[in-house]
């Protein structure tokens, strides 16, 4: 096998070769190898809790849920929880903010959440006249492409780079490389390095997961059968949601009879729920790690001719509508899309030399029986996320598909 022979020499060969040339030629590789945390999380695998579970972070998020945020109450995307501010003078843009070139490496727009979010960000940019150029590269969900995108953007003379990583572990090196050249703002999903100027995200998956789980623990009678529906394994945000829920369920007397992956496919969700109902006679509560398919789940119960048990969803309009129309016992923790506005604001603050939090924790409101009507917006498309904080943005509601 010639390729084999060729290759056996090549992989290390290239490395050595490169190492030699390292002095002479440029390397985009990050100096230190990160992933210390990665290997550490590997060790946690031993414990029966998923490797994505980190006790202290869990406790932190639970605590944050009750903290009152700093900042304007009517602008949750500018609020921050327990911020430790950091100085950003080093990044202050010479000659003022005028003519700022902002760049954004997006993991993709492969789901409605990200589509709403991107619209938020674009609209936010419109608010700031000083941003004269806003470059967005879409990685279409490909880690490899996003790495190149980031490399490309760092060479485009951006004043600041916003990154929404497709994957935590795999994007880390690229982000580290970028940090060396431009101020980097990471949001939504994190990276395993603290080189970005700030990392913007809401309270997080643990908070989300436990809110939903606690709701069921409260509403469903002991020994009740719980069906846990997850999108797909391996997505850190979602894994966190589940692992937190797991903690809650383990403490409770509820009986989680099934944990299934729906791949976000509504048809598959309906099948799974239908089968679950027939297998277990009844289902007393449904926990979901994301709202995308909760309506399908609700329908499955209807089609099976049984009452819809307490169910958790997300702040998508179709779910909120079903909730109201069908008078469900439900709750919708959110992973607010308004967080897409914050990075732009942060970027401008940084370039202005204003202080920003090292980790910018945003509040993570929950839609409940009480405030349901505030978030159920007539005329918005079914897959629109209520927690977009976009009502005051230019082009609303048309650009978001509403009327």
């Amino acid at each position: 096998m010639t390729p084999l022979r060729k290759h056996r020499l090549l992989a290390p060969g290239a490395a050595v070769f490169a190492a030699v040339l390292l002095a002479s030629c440029s390397s985009d590789a990050p100096p230190a190898s990160p992933g210390a945390s990665a290997s550490q999380s590997q060790d946690d695998k031993a414990t029966e809790q998923s490797k994505f579970f980190e006790q202290d972070e869990y406790e932190r998020q639970i605590r944050l849920a009750d903290v009152t945020p700093e900042g304007p109450a009517d602008k949750p995307w500018e609020q921050m929880l327990e911020p430790e501010m950091r100085d950003t003078a080093e990044f202050k843009k010479k000659g003022g903010l005028a003519g700022t070139h902002l760049c954004f490496s997006n993991a993709g727009v492969f789901n409605p959440w990200r589509q709403v979010g991107l619209k938020n960000m674009q609209a936010e940019v419109k608010l700031h006249k000083e941003i004269t150029k806003f470059t967005v590269l879409d990685a279409q969900g490909k880690d490899d492409k996003q790495i190149s995108d980031i490399e490309e953007l760092t060479g485009k003379g951006c004043d600041a780079l916003i990154v929404s990583p497709n994957t935590t572990a795999t994007l880390t090196p690229a982000v580290e490389a970028a940090c060396a050249k431009v101020p980097v703002i990471v949001f939504d999903r994190g990276v395993q390095t603290d080189c970005p100027v700030t990392f913007i995200n809401p309270i997080g998956g643990y908070g989300y997961g436990s809110v939903a789980a606690d709701f069921l623990v409260e509403k469903v009678k002991p020994k009740g059968k719980i069906l846990a529906l997850r999108i797909s394994p391996g997505v850190d945000v979602l894994e966190n949601r589940w692992s937190a829920a797991k903690v809650a369920f383990d403490k409770s007397e509820l009986d989680v009879v099934e944990i299934k992956f729906t791949e976000g496919d509504t048809a598959k969700t309906k099948s799974i729920v239908a089968d679950a109902i027939s297998r277990h006679g009844q289902i007393d509560g449904v926990w979901m790690d994301a709202g995308a398919t909760s309506v399908a789940a609700i329908e499955a119960f209807e089609d099976a001719g049984v009452d819809v048990p307490p169910i958790t969803g997300e702040d998508q309009q179709d779910f909120l509508k079903a909730w109201k129309d069908k008078k469900l016992t439900a709750i919708a923790p959110t992973y607010p899309t308004f967080q897409w506005r914050t990075p732009v604001i942060a970027a401008l603050d940084i370039l202005a030399g204003k202080q920003v939090p090292k980790e910018w924790k945003l509040p993570q409101p929950t839609v409940t029986e009480e405030n349901l009507d505030d978030y159920l917006q007539e005329g918005m498309p079914p897959l629109h996320y209520a927690m977009c904080g976009c009502e005051d943005l230019p082009g609303f509601p048309k650009d978001w598909g509403g009327k």
Partner: protein, 332 residues
């Protein structure tokens, strides 16, 4: 007797066939690639961007690597008249195996592990196709499902981690040229050599061209097909290694999210290799890959809506093949 009298209707093509002919798809593809580059440069410059900026060139090149490696392998099987739909999942598994073995082993063991895996999968594909006489489409689709199950059953998300030393493969560059491009070049050269210069290669073309004729001429067609599948998988393994070094870890969706299975086939066909086998080659495939990469970069520069990209890609692929079909009809 004068030989010319023997056959009135001989079309002696070109001055001497060995010299490059425009009718040779590979040449056409590279010309097309050149055109695309020029157009891209024009458009981007008009748009106020700089197409030949260092960063951009680097991006284009490094975007070629992964798809290029897979496509090169894919052309080997397609030449032989077969097909491999399992590449995407093999890549994913490859990155995971690489990252995990390298985490608690040396780089070399990691590389070997991946290549071993590749050989195994390649053999499986080849033997199912030739031995069980299962149509390649279904056979490799089946192995794809099997690999997928294996991955999803054993991995939840990124796993393992490659040492810094190995990451140089993914990140270093000499001037504007990423080191990984040399990997692609090496593998491509190897496969090109294999298909064009060795008996095996000649037999691959023969098997893909007319299996019956090949057999009558004493070619061991089955063996050839199996070997082709192994070669393909090895190239895929190389791609997996590259991605692992680039991602720094193994990712279960490294291969599938990029649809390497269909994309690679598209690239191969775009490169002028006949899906039926027997015609075309690695050179053309690389051209096809380059075209796709350049298109991507141009779209990036103009920040075209990602959904719109797919439309264009689809059109380009169909149009290209339609062109080949036309030319084929002419020469036939």
């Amino acid at each position: 007797m004068t030989p010319t009298a023997l056959a009135p209707a001989v079309a002696q093509p070109g001055p001497k066939p060995r010299r490059v002919k425009l009718t040779d798809p590979a040449v056409g593809v590279w010309l097309a690639a050149a055109v695309v580059i020029v157009l891209g440069w024009l458009i981007v410059t008009l748009d106020g961007g700089s197409f030949f900026a260092r960063a951009n060139i680097t991006t284009i090149l490094s975007n070629c690597v992964a798809l290029g490696l897979v496509a090169v392998g894919q052309s080997a099987v397609i030449l032989t008249g077969s097909l491999d739909l399992s590449v995407a999942y093999l890549i994913s598994l490859g990155t995971l195996v690489a990252a995990e073995t390298m985490q608690d082993g040396s780089v070399v063991t990691g590389v070997l592990a991946v290549l071993a895996l590749s050989v195994a999968v390649g053999l499986a594909n080849g033997l199912i196709v030739t031995g069980l006489k299962v149509n390649a489409f279904i056979a490799t689709l089946g192995t794809a499902f099997i690999l997928r199950g294996w991955i999803e059953d054993n991995y939840t998300g990124p796993a393992g981690q490659v040492p810094a030393s190995f990451r140089h493969l993914g990140y270093d560059r000499i001037g504007p040229v990423p080191v990984s491009v040399f990997l692609l070049a090496a593998v491509a050269a190897a496969v090109w050599f294999l298909t064009r210069r060795t008996r095996l290669g000649h037999h691959m073309y023969a098997t893909g061209g007319d299996e019956h004729a090949a057999r009558l001429s004493g070619v061991r067609t089955r063996r050839t097909v199996v070997v082709a599948h192994v070669i393909c998988s090895l190239c895929v393994g190389a791609a997996a290694l590259f991605l692992a070094s680039r991602l720094g870890a193994g990712a279960p969706w490294a291969g599938t999210e990029a649809r390497y299975d269909l994309e690679s086939i598209a690239a191969v066909v775009l490169g002028g290799t006949a899906l039926a086998g027997g015609r075309g080659g690695v050179a053309g495939t690389l051209g096809g890959v380059l075209i796709l990469a350049v298109l991507d970069s141009v779209f990036n520069q103009l920040s075209v809506d990602p959904f719109f990209k797919n439309v264009v890609r689809g059109v380009v692929i169909i149009a290209a093949v339609a062109l080949y079909a036309r030319r084929g009809r002419k020469t036939a």
